[in-house]
Amino acid sequence: MSVLEIKNLHVNVATEQGEREILRGVDLAIAEGEIHAIMGPNGSGKSTLAYTIAGHPKYTVVSGEILLDGESVLAMSVDERARAGLFLAMQYPVEIPGVTVTNFLRTAKTAISGEAPSVRTWIKDVRESMARLRMDAAFAERNINEGFSGGEKKRNEILQLELLGPRFAVLDETDSGLDVDALKIVSEGVNRAKANTGLGILLITHYTRILRYIKPDFVHVFVAGKVAEQGGSELAERLENEGYDRYLPTEASVAGGVSAGAPAPSK
């Protein structure tokens, strides 16, 4: 049974004004096949957690641990973590001019599985995955994310999730900017990946609407750099109705610059 554990994680970010503390003792454990939703106001550190798990060099782990099946990943480089089975679907996927999606996917697949995929099955896998995500075949020949709409970028992230088959995926606001149809398509993609590989998922979102399609086993309320409360999916409903006010300390004591982040009611 695979497990991703985050223990008392403290993380600083390097800013122009110097180091700033963002994560202040995060504890989480995600087992294979589980879905954990993280909800929290803007600026509470959700993306920081996601990036730190992936190993982004801008974030410094001051103390605490990230363990994959009991082994620390902190000393591992970004690519080593990905090869160990971690995946981050980014909130803002970057454009890479001159590198086609096809070339990228093949290179990534080869890196992850340690050998080049067999040409015939690979092309078929890519084509089928794209079709299921309702991505036009022409996307394969386009440069990564270049000129993609917000929704197309998110589908492209899920395409990679499906094809690379990680053990744990962090989905950072994959639902933001998606219309209802796209939301369903993307959610189906995530559920497929889970059903096929027993993927464990950390799903960061502001809205409960994605939770109608991707059913969380646990919901964590993230405030000012740590988990303020956890519960089952009923917690998400309450957050949607009540917002985060009850978790917010008095204004003066908020160091992390928490802005009004009550999720917009879904329709």
Partner: protein, 405 residues
């Protein structure tokens, strides 16, 4: 002496350059590199020209043509005696392309242009014969001329590439191994001809290569001119395209990869001298390592007869490490009010770490990720070459460059 001032002073001169920020997420300015605006002291058309070395005073390095170049390191080529005898080369064969040595008195010599600096004039004076590459026939064909045994003694060369009216062809002029070479290449593109010329510099690390290319394009002629500079200590290839007759069209492409201590320079000049002429200039370069240096100057002159002209030039540099310097100076002079379009762009940007992170987060190693990004940046040029064989060869050569870091 042939001092040429063949264009009247600008009536409507829009001169000077403002490097613009790029559309591709790069900035016009960044650490370790700079792109700076330049107001020319004189317009490019008024620059002194002569085929006689003696007409140029000894090079000081302060001349407008030399001020970015490490001139002290090649005084042998600018001011010394050059070996102007036939130089050794190998060439591939193709029906429709003939190679021959022609005497320097041949009437074709000097019809495409006149040297603008002392190195070019010195070479012009020194050669006894020119290598003539004649391209005829409407079928597509490729001939590669490789100079790989030039040695370390300073030498001169003169090449005339002549595309007969309505002919088509791709000529690659490749350089490998040692060289201290100053050369002139004249490119005569006949009416309706479609010619591609690739100057491929893969010299040994100590080589010095100074080249002036002069192209004259006839009516409805098309020239794709590509400068690829990868190897050599100092490589300076300055192409001039003279769009002399209506409908002439030049696509000037450049690709360079400057490593530590390498100086790669290109001064491009496009002269729109007839109505309805078109030019596209696109140069892209990567710089990596202490002292890696690139210079790109792009002068476009739209003469007063060049109505309906369509012109665009751009240079983009990708900076991969500290300690590099990229000078990038686009410069547009317009002497007619009636043009279809003219523009320029210049940008020098640092390698984007977020791109690196994205690729590495998918399991791709840092080395491979850098290679993908740089190759992606430069590939726009490679893909425009239009020769799959050459594209493959260049991609492999670029990968070698990246691996060397």
């Amino acid at each position: 002496m042939t001092a040429a001032t063949h264009a009247a002073p600008a009536a409507v001169a829009v001169s000077g350059a403002v490097p613009t920020t790029a559309q591709h997420g790069m900035t016009a300015h960044s650490d370790g590199a700079r792109a700076r605006p330049a107001i020319p002291v004189q317009t490019r058309s008024e620059r002194f020209r002569s085929v006689h070395a003696a007409d140029f005073p000894p090079v000081t390095g302060r001349e407008v043509a030399w001020k970015f170049s490490p001139t002290a390191r090649f005084t042998d080529l600018t001011d010394g005696d050059l070996d102007g005898s036939r130089l050794p080369f190998t060439a591939t064969d193709a029906a429709g392309v003939t190679l021959s040595w022609i005497p320097r008195t041949d009437p074709r010599i000097g019809t495409a242009g006149t040297p603008e600096d002392r190195a070019a004039a010195n070479a012009w004076t020194a050669v006894t014969e020119a290598l003539c590459v004649h391209v005829g026939g409407e079928n597509e064909k490729t001939v590669t001329i490789t100079r790989s045994e030039l040695g370390t003694a300073p030498r001169a060369a003169h090449t005339v590439i002549e595309a007969a009216p309505h002919s088509r062809g791709l000529i690659v002029l490749a350089g490998q191994g040692d060289a201290r070479l100053s050369e002139n290449v004249e490119i005569l593109v006949g009416a309706g001809a479609s010619l591609t010329v690739v100057s491929l510099q893969e010299w040994a690390p100590e080589a010095v290569h100074l080249a002036s290319h002069f192209a004259r394009l006839g009516r409805d002629a098309r020239l794709k001119h590509i400068v690829v500079s990868l190897g050599g200590q100092i490589v300076r290839v300055n192409p001039t395209g003279h769009l002399a007759e209506p409908g002439a069209d030049i696509e000037a492409l450049g690709l360079y990869f400057a490593d530590a201590g390498q100086h790669l320079e290109q001064q491009v000049f496009v002269h729109h001298d007839a109505p309805h002429t078109k030019s596209r200039v696109t140069y892209k370069g990567a710089l990596q390592g202490e002292g890696a240096r690139s210079v790109w100057i792009g002068d476009v002159l739209i003469g007063n007869t060049a109505t309906g002209t369509d012109s665009y030039e751009q240079n983009r540099n990708l900076v991969l490490s500290d300690g590099t310097r990229a000078d990038s100076i686009p410069n547009l002079e317009i002497e007619t009010g009636d043009i279809a379009g003219a523009g320029h762009a210049s940008a020098t940007g640092r390698f984007d770490d977020e791109q690196l992170f994205y690729l590495m987060a998918r399991g791709i190693t840092e080395e491979e990720a850098r290679r993908l990004v740089v190759r992606g940046f430069l590939t726009e040029i490679v893909q425009k070459i239009g020769s799959p064989g050459l594209e493959q060869r260049l991609t492999a050569a670029l990968d070698m460059e990246l691996r060397r870091s």
